[in-house]
Symmetry: C2
């Protein structure tokens, strides 16, 4: 096990019907609030009205930034920074999923930075102070509600990059599974794929002696795999939604990953797909994951043991031979996404029709994701091209 | 899943050779430090010298409170409060295991309380502000290094009781597995039994829909069960010590338990054994646990499914029948403590020779632990007597 720091001071308010606690929490940081949200689904569900009423009653002065899109754009961040400066905002209340919270984080940091906030995405060493963020989560997926990370896109440069800062960790997060009842099936499945991918990225690594982290990651994988289909079948199953929501938070708050070394793989590659084609992040991850797994097992026998352990502990595969067990685990992963949760599992199904940008995206992925040195299996540009090219057709061999 | 709050702002510095980070962390809270520790093992290992040198070099003004005993006594707390008031202490540095940190917590709260600090143990609603605590952990067991709880004994009244307060959570904890290399075998085994018991107390409950918590608890149990014998065999196996240490912290920081209802059972009963006989807490728990499990399975068929799940997921029991699987799981638990980790598994082996106080202890346990209403299987005084009486001889039936 490697040395690590774990610092997750977010005050988690988990459960149904706790918004009455929100005004008191917010008031700790100030009365001038920037309310950030997305495309308006919170208006349809009534969450917007509920929160607005609470804030009005408690005498908050609310400025709004709406329209934060999936794969949140740097333009929204710039707008947010300007609004905060114009209105002397003291605290951000982010109501939404990962996109809204990620944009809010970089807004919060951008306020204390004199230049263009895109600089903070390109170089997280420039990230310093930040104004406090409180959030009300509406999607189980990214885990941003209890960590210091944010991912922002710049459509002008076809870049989608991660940044981070210890001051960006939300002060408090309200996690009410009921707020995810209205999440459509495809977004529920994509969010679950995102959670699983976060766990895979941390689980497949070379550090020895990490039973605690391995067992927790496997346990969270199993919780997601079990509960996602239940939520798809009955979107208002409280316990299924609760398990997905809490898994999403724990999957990326440091606990399954800290103490291990090694970089991520599918995320940096997927960020290129999203940056160039604006596809749903979780869907891109689901498509890439089994192809990446197969590439690892096919090209690097030293990965067989870990993939076999994954197959046995997560999918109950009984096969004794490591290589065979590894392949069965990949097959189960693929069919889980495709059949059990109905995620589109080829790039043409999400509108990426041809391979003309594959080389360019692969170059960017290797560079931005340090794929040549960091991950479980280091990848060259030609390796990434191979993995992406496999995503154009259905998998028939595992 | 039930509603819950999770707030664990302790800044965890996990890993070897990080004490150079300590002065900067401490200095955030002040330069006048109360250094608390136990019976002097930190002097034998050199940890005391190392910390003293660091604090001297950085210009801290250090007052010492030593001699904090296992099952820490209220007298140590009273002394600590007096020392803080006399010396205008700004921060406590606790160096030791759960006893030292627990005593330090109640000292920290006692400073802000005008009456006798025992009042804060009897009634945690009286716990208010506290001075900050930073700790250097030397034993993997109680989990106090990342939570708001403390257990204090009062030998005058034969009471050992828990208290808590949000302000008692350590500000920072230094978890260096190397600091546990010198822990003797019997204490290593007892500490591991304590970790397992924390997980059992939270795992065996009636709340439905807690896959996340169940899977995490099972994963931590497996990590402890695997790594304790490795540390017993080779006390300087870094990864074994690291897994035990990190399991102990995670087992009681809220993550395996929050979201479930139901009180604890073996801990309140063991607290009576420790209060009356000052036995090692973890040993008392190991002795009680399989007898308690057998009592549950023998008297309440609604517990069979959960105990069978435990047997299958933690001990790999293949038996299909729930009741039979439950019994096998109990047998495996007993033999793990007795044979694999060599914990004394009867009360006479720890110096409790006769049953004369069993009734009195059982009455106290039911009262102090709310055993009649709270736990997985509610217990009357006669039930507790039965469980304790079973602890005087070896188990032969499971």
């Amino acid at each position: 096990m490697k040395n690590f720091r774990l610092y997750i001071p977010t005050d988690i308010h988990f459960g149904n019907d706790r918004l009455d606690e929100l005004p008191e929490i917010l008031a700790e940081y100030g009365k001038k609030v920037l309310l950030t949200y997305g495309g308006g689904s919170i208006k349809r569900t009534g969450l917007y009205d509920k929160i607005s009423d609470l804030l009005d009653e408690a005498g908050f002065e609310v400025t709004e930034l709406s329209g934060i899109a999936p794969n949140p754009k740097i333009d929204s961040v710039r707008k947010g920074v300007a609004l905060i400066r114009e209105n002397d905002i003291e605290v951000i209340l982010a109501v939404g999923g990962g996109s809204v919270i990620d944009a809010s984080k970089v807004i919060a940091g951008g306020v204390y930075y004199e230049g263009d906030p895109w600089d903070l995405v390109l170089d997280n060493k420039k990230m310093g102070q930040a104004i406090p963020i409180v959030d009300v989560l509406t999607l189980a997926a990214t885990g941003t509600e209890m960590n210091r990370n944010a991912v922002i896109s710049n459509p002008e440069t076809n870049e989608k990059l991660g940044t981070s800062g210890w001051n960006l960790i939300p002060k408090a997060s309200f996690l009410d599974p009921v707020n995810t009842f209205s999440v459509p099936k495809n977004q529920t499945a994509a969010g679950s794929a995102d959670i699983l991918s976060h766990l895979f990225e941390q689980y497949f690594n070379r550090t020895k002696g990490t039973d605690v982290q391995d067992n927790i990651a496997e346990g969270l994988m199993k919780a997601v795999i079990k509960n996602c289909p239940v939520a798809l079948e009955n979107p208002e199953d409280y316990n299924a939604r609760a398990n997905l929501m809490w898994s999403s938070t724990l999957a990326l708050n440091g606990i399954p990953g800290n103490g291990r070394s090694g970089g991520w793989t599918c995320h940096p590659i997927e960020h290129e797909l999203s940056a160039y084609y604006d596809i749903t992040h979780g869907v891109g991850l689901a498509i890439l994951t089994p192809r990446w797994m197969k590439f690892c097992v096919d090209t690097d026998p030293t990965t067989h043991e870990k993939f076999a352990t994954y197959a046995r502990n997560v999918w109950d595969v009984q096969e004794k031979d490591n290589e065979k067990a590894a392949h069965i685990g990949i097959e189960k992963t693929y069919h889980y996404f495709k059949k059990t949760t109905s995620v589109p599992m080829t790039l043409p199904e999400v509108g990426i029709a041809d391979t003309k940008l594959v080389h360019e995206m692969s170059e960017h992925a290797v560079k931005n994701g340090h794929l040549g040195i960091a991950p479980f299996v280091p990848l060259e540009v030609s390796d990434v091209e191979k993995i992406i090219n496999e995503c154009f057709t259905d998998m028939t061999e595992f």
